[in-house]
Symmetry: C2
Subunit: 328 residues, 2 copies
């Protein structure tokens, strides 16, 4: 009998089918599956697509699955039970457990019962884990209320800074050309009727045609400009690191010493932001216990095996990671 593990993210969704010893038999991916409070269709579509691919790759069927875990943002809220019902209706095997995305991210990086997770991808959040459960959460409030230091947050500041500079309100920055070019807008052109540069008018039109979270894809431009010593970009990067340190600091309990798992594209690819963000770690948490994970699929496997009463020790954990690596 096999186990199903799904990790749902803002950019992509990943599924794995795994044997009881932690050996991964099949792997599949699909697009963004983040549910909102008002819409679970995107999430169901992505989870079902990734699961089908993983089952096919493992030459397995839903009937072979002993238990499954879906790691997803908002699993603890009202969205969780509703999404669970829709996934069962769509043919996913039971028992299927919905787990918070940050809990599966933690278990991708560590088997320790107590520790911390800080994630900065499209969104940003930190949690404190005690006895394998989330004890405290900071941020993860979405693009309009929080996600300070996230890809959206950085991309939003990039496009706002570019707009302010085109507008005569901001200092010159390399972000103007980088942002316009990424969005396919010509950087030259006349000043139009309202005394506003043509490129700025186009920028307004393009940006309001996007979903706000899509601004996260501008974040890499900020790191590129900051490496070239652009002052505006450097300030955005520094503030992102500060914001993430504040978020992590809000969940740190000085008496709880454990590993810190870092996740999400910003922390995975920007070591300077990661270094700045972890200054809030409690003393006793030494650098070797900071682990960066690519995503939460390994952690979803750990939880799926445990929910099936399998013991996950260091050798099973290593087998999960090595077999998963060969499949992707």
């Amino acid at each position: 009998m096999n186990y199903l593990a799904v990790d749902v993210g803002g950019t992509s969704t990943r599924a794995a089918v795994v044997a009881a010893d932690g050996n991964c038999l099949g792997y599949g991916t699909a697009g963004s599956g983040n549910p909102t409070s008002f819409d679970t269709i995107t999430a169901v579509t992505a989870i079902v697509a990734a699961t089908r691919t993983a089952l096919a790759a493992a030459a397995s069927t839903p009937a072979d699955i002993t238990s499954g875990v879906v790691g997803i943002a908002g699993a603890g809220g009202a969205t969780g039970p509703r999404l669970h019902r829709e996934l069962i209706s769509a043919g996913l095997p039971e028992p299927l457990t919905m787990e918070p995305d940050l809990l599966v991210a933690y278990h991708s990086g560590s088997l320790a019962p107590d520790g911390y997770v800080l994630v900065a991808g499209t969104g940003a959040a930190a949690v404190r884990i005690r006895d394998h459960q989330i004890e405290a959460t900071a941020d993860g409030l979405g693009w309009l209320l929080g996600d300070a230091g996230s890809g959206f947050w950085i991309g939003h500041r990039a496009v706002s800074a570019a707009a302010a500079t085109l507008d005569g309100r901001g200092q010159p920055t390399a972000l103007v050309d980088l942002v316009l070019s990424q969005l396919g807008i010509a950087t030259t052109g006349p000043v139009n009727d309202g005394g506003r540069p043509n490129a700025l008018q186009q920028l307004v039109h393009v940006v309001y045609g996007l979903r706000p979270v899509e601004l996260a894809r501008l974040a890499p431009l900020v790191f590129e400009a900051a490496e070239g010593n652009d002052e505006v970009a450097g300030r955005i990067v520094a503030r992102a690191g500060d914001a993430l340190a504040t978020t992590l600091g809000a969940v740190v309990d000085p008496r709880l010493v454990g590993p810190l798992v870092l996740g999400g594209s910003i922390l995975a690819h920007q070591p300077s932001v990661a270094r700045q963000a972890i200054v809030a770690l409690p003393r006793g948490t030494a650098a070797p216990s900071v682990v960066t994970v690519a995503d939460g699929v390994a952690g979803a496997i750990v939880l799926a095996l445990r929910h099936g009463d399998k013991v996950v020790d260091e050798s099973v954990f290593a087998r999960i990671h090595t077999s998963l690596a060969t499949l992707r």
Copy 2:
């Protein structure tokens, strides 16, 4: 023969029917009429409703109208001609001229050919006027790209600060209770599964159910808290004033000395913000030439008369204002 003047705002839309001597014969209002790049239905509905009320109050019909002016954001862009066609189809009289909202706001406050306007209501923008035309514009880029110092900008910071405090990331602030109470959320309640206070979960749900610009209605809470010496609120107010000073500064040409017209609910009701915002004025622009206007309807009347080749001098200008005041 009469003239039609309409001023379209983010919160309400105002229409007036006026005689050739500037005497207002009828006045009407309707809801928010701000068009987006993608939707002009709201604007058409509000403009038609306000116009009908004003015509009825003046015992006038579209056939009596010599010329009309609609002051609206985005009049200079691609939205203007499209909106114009839809308004004529909906029965508004021709000729009907679409004018930028900031140009009509300016003419509500001054007959001088050269000057400046700074508006901070739901949005925020500044323009430089030369020879009765807009020569330069700063900001007015909407909630996602700019509108720095606007009602949205202030309200967004209020709700983000309240969320950060509930989350353990921000310092204590009176904004927590003020924001929760305004949004009808109970301030007490247990910490739930994800280690997040119940009030914060509810706040997330309520805020993501709003259109972002609706956060502008939280702005008055920030001024209330700042008056009570709340540090977080005081900082938001100070930064709003700074942002508006930067926006005004971006359009100031030291060689162009003229009156400054202030508009929008933030500048009309918050003298401390207005004082901070006008530090960017060029020398020679003395305080007496700073005029605060309630809205742009008087300016739309000025432009409607001018487009009908009527001379608008100080006595006509005074008649517009006094007769308008008796009707509303």
